[in-house]
């Protein structure tokens, strides 16, 4: 048993930490204020990241590399792409969550493509920057209830519907859209389609104004008789009960630990800054086995640190299982649920402990307390994670435990 981060990941952690410190932090407040402005500083960085991945002998890291590493190669314990991506994103989000979400070619759509695309599709879309469009005005967590349709017409599909909360929806070169081939066939008929930017019929309606992660654009997109080649359907076009939707949902088993890692990153940023500020004001933060003699603020910081450490280890476990080809649906949701709520708990309490300093814009604490909230919502809300965990623990179907 070894629960330490392996030495082989030290370089990528170091690189990501440098980016977070030298690229993200200095422009963090700027793009929080200038919502919807494109952070052009990221272009150069994205090229560096592409280079790192292409040159990596072990398959690289990042959204487009998830899922394909699990269970392959030599038998025995593996620490692969899932863990590496979690670690990298944790560091980047220590810098800035919104900017991390805006890195070109690292969109959630890239994870979806990596998970279900055929080899030919991988060649076509592998280097595209792809956003992910699932949520609709009338369907959020209940993604089986989506209304967007894809109708086959010869060698094409025609897509009609409205999608909201598409992260990087305007900036990305393509959008992976969830749509149903046949509303009467339920979730098995839901497929994902790649719609490239500029396709007639696809239009960005608006960009949302948000509580946090303002550096990341969040688009509402309308599809009005949007015609795409039939080769743009990802995975198997057959409506079968066994595959399809379940396969699409499996993407989440790999992406949820990454989002959990993001929450851990921003929470650690807040905790570290708060520790520094409180240490300057003379608070002793030595660790003790009997904590009731400590000042309330010190005990609270220790407790937050313990909660954060728990979230971190749950997340590493989920990623480690994915790397080793073990089914990790329950563990991925446990990591996401814990990290999501701990992210909010830590950042909000840190802002509170630092008083007006924590609330004001001279520090980033108030920003982190806003940014963290989304991480307990997207990629499955806290409540959806608890539902998934409970169904697995209790052996219940979605019709029994609703």
């Amino acid at each position: 048993m070894n629960l330490e981060i392996p030495g082989k990941f030290a370089p990528i952690i170091h690189q990501a930490r440098q980016v977070a410190r030298e690229v993200f932090r200095p422009i963090s407040r700027k793009y929080d204020r200038a919502e919807h402005a494109y952070p052009k500083e990221l272009d150069l960085f994205a090229t560096i990241m592409d280079g790192m991945n292409d040159g990596a002998a072990d398959g690289g890291a990042g959204a487009g590399r998830l899922a394909r590493s699990g269970g392959e190669g030599a038998p025995g314990n593996r620490n692969g792409t899932n863990m590496k991506t979690v670690l990298g994103l944790t560091e980047l989000c220590w810098g800035d969550v919104g900017l991390a979400l805006s890195i070109p070619r690292q969109g959630l759509g890239n994870s979806a493509i990596a998970a279900v695309a055929s080899e030919t599709q991988l060649k076509r879309f592998g280097s595209t920057w792809a956003a992910m469009a699932i949520t609709e005005p009338g369907a959020g967590s209940d993604s089986a209830a989506i209304q967007t349709t894809a109708t086959q017409d010869g060698d094409h599909y025609i897509i009609n519907g409205e999608k909201i909360y598409v992260t990087a929806g305007e900036r990305a070169n393509a959008v992976v859209v969830w749509a149903t081939l046949d509303k009467s066939r339920g979730r098995a008929a839901i497929k994902s389609f790649v719609v490239e930017k500029g396709t007639p019929g696809m239009s960005v309606e608006r960009l949302e104004k948000k509580l946090g992660i303002r550096a990341s654009d969040t688009a509402a997109i309308r599809f009005d008789n949007c015609r795409i080649p039939k080769e743009n359907l990802l995975g198997d076009p057959d409506i079968s009960v066994d595959k399809g939707f379940a396969g699409a949902m499996q993407t989440f088993d790999n992406t949820r630990p990454v989002v959990a890692g993001m929450a851990i990153g921003v929470a650690r940023a807040a905790l570290e800054r708060t520790r520094d500020l409180l240490a300057i004001s003379g608070l002793n933060l030595d660790y003790r086995q009997q904590t009731w003699h400590l000042p309330a603020a010190a005990r609270e910081l220790h407790l937050l640190e313990a909660e954060l450490e728990a979230a971190r280890l749950l997340t590493l476990r989920a990623a480690w299982m994915a790397d080793n080809g073990q089914p990790n649906s329950r563990e991925a949701s446990m990591a996401k649920a814990k990290a999501g709520r701990v992210g909010s708990q830590v950042t909000l309490r840190c802002a509170e402990l630092c008083g007006s300093l924590g609330y004001g814009e001279t520090e980033l604490l108030e920003k982190w307390a806003r940014d963290s909230k989304i991480l307990d919502i997207f990629e499955g809300t806290q409540q959806i994670q608890l539902l998934i965990i409970a169904r697995r623990l209790l052996g219940k179907s979605s019709s029994e435990l609703k």
Partner: protein
């Protein structure tokens, strides 16, 4: 506080009901009498028929188990030895500890037949290096934690009683001088190992194990011990005690052989853990020989306390897991409003959260233990694990009872016992050592 008329009346009534005259007039039921005397009994001097430990003539040099070499990669899997130990102890827990737990709790004693059926496991052998007759080859806090987890899944009280001598053997292996190791450790590898216990806690609010009030002063022949220890596991039957006391301003551990000694002992039954036969022990100018001081210059009291914390966390995780494993089938079988209560999110989400927090406790504990095992600094990790276990284990216990509703409150189900036992996670420091 001045008494108002109602307070005065109550106080008079109380005095009358405590009047021995009632007994002479036969106005009190026999049951009430027992209760009355039971709470009134003070310290009594007990001569323990402890075994003798002979000073080793040709003692071996001090042995320190080497750190375990860790793999390069993050790895949550258990090795073959750990799988074997956890598997056999889980079976012991299911077949022996769990079925006897209720009776042990109610009688407040550790059943002799369990002692017999667990002796053959040779638990203490795992704590003793090969040179002294045991099987330990390297540091093994992870294995110790796994052992605690499995035993506490059966019953925390019984687990503590079984782990008391194991923990003393661990402590002497970890910290003892060559002479102390040679004198005591071989005994722990015999068919009938000595009963031994770590006496650390004291009856004071906000007790901090780093600052015991018990003192030791150096005398011409050794040390003189003064102070009071509480919740000493199996304390009335011990051949050997490890006692925390401050010497020259620094906390240390002292080895107390009980043979031929008159100790001031009184029962210290608590809310739970009743199978441990806990006692208070009062040291009143107790004279100890010069070699009673555990260890030498390399003794690290903070690390001693941290290793105790690891085991406490292991116990917490085990009993908390027992709660989860119990409420799942219960909530699936229990029907209300025409369907299993587990079909309700308010019930199901509580269960999800139990699982999340139990794994949180477990992973923090495992990380701290695996760092200790590899010879890395682990004070921070052990402290954080302990803090989380203090908070979450009681939450698990409380929600466990809540999920069973009225059934959780009665002794027909074990959950109320686990609730009582889990309260001890945050209050106890002694008895265990990884």
């Amino acid at each position: 506080m001045p008494k108002d008329p109602i307070g005065l009346a109550l106080s008079i009534m109380n005095r009358i009901s405590g009047n021995p005259l009632l007994d002479r007039l036969g106005l009190r039921s026999p049951l009430e009498k027992t209760a009355y005397h039971g709470t009134r009994a003070g310290f009594r001097t007990i001569a323990l028929a402890g075994r003798e430990f002979n000073r080793a003539r040709n003692w071996l040099p001090q042995t320190r188990l080497p750190a375990r070499k860790q793999g390069e990669l993050f790895d949550l899997s258990l090795d073959d030895d750990q799988l074997m130990i956890t598997d056999s102890l889980h079976r012991l827990s299911r077949e022996v500890l769990r079925p006897n737990a209720c009776e042990a709790d109610e009688s407040g004693t550790f059943p002799a037949r369990i002692m017999a059926s667990t002796a053959e496991l040779g638990l203490t052998m795992y704590a003793v290096p090969g040179e002294f007759g045991g099987v330990a080859e390297q540091q093994s806090p992870v294995t110790s934690v796994l052992i605690a987890e499995q035993l506490a899944w059966g019953d925390m009280g019984l687990a503590l009683a079984l782990l008391a001598p194991f923990s003393v053997a661990q402590a002497i292996s970890q910290w003892g001088t060559g002479e102390q190791q040679s004198r005591y450790l071989p005994a722990f590898c015999e068919d009938h190992p000595p009963m031994a216990s770590i006496a650390l806690d004291e009856p004071t609010p906000l007790f901090d194990p780093m600052h015991p009030a018990t003192t030791a002063i150096a005398t011409a022949h050794g040390y003189r011990l003064n102070g009071e220890k509480a919740q000493v596991v199996m304390g009335g039957q011990c051949d050997l005690l490890l006692v925390a006391a401050v010497l020259d301003g620094k906390p240390r551990m002292f080895i107390v052989e009980t043979a031929g000694r008159n100790l001031l002992i009184t029962d210290d039954d608590g809310m739970g853990l009743r199978a441990t036969g806990a006692v208070k022990i009062c040291f009143d100018n107790t004279e100890l020989p010069a070699d009673a001081l555990l260890g030498g210059d390399d003794f690290d009291y903070q690390a001693f306390i941290d290793r105790a914390a690891l085991m406490r966390c292991g116990l917490a995780v085990g009993t908390a897991q027992a709660v989860l494993d119990y409420v799942i089938p219960y909530c699936n079988d229990r029907h209300a409003f025409g369907e299993p209560i587990s079909h309700r999110q308010s019930v199901a989400f509580m269960i999800s959260n139990l699982a999340i927090e139990i794994d949180s406790m477990r992973l923090l504990t495992w990380r701290a233990a695996s760092r200790a095992e590899a010879g890395l600094a682990f004070h921070r990790e052990a402290s954080l694990a302990r803090l989380l276990c203090n908070e979450k284990s009681m939450e698990v216990g409380s929600n466990g009872v809540q999920l069973l509703g009225g059934h959780g409150f009665v002794k027909e189900h074990p959950v109320e016992r686990w609730y009582r036992d889990l309260r001890s996670v945050a209050t106890h420091h002694g008895g265990v050592h990884a």
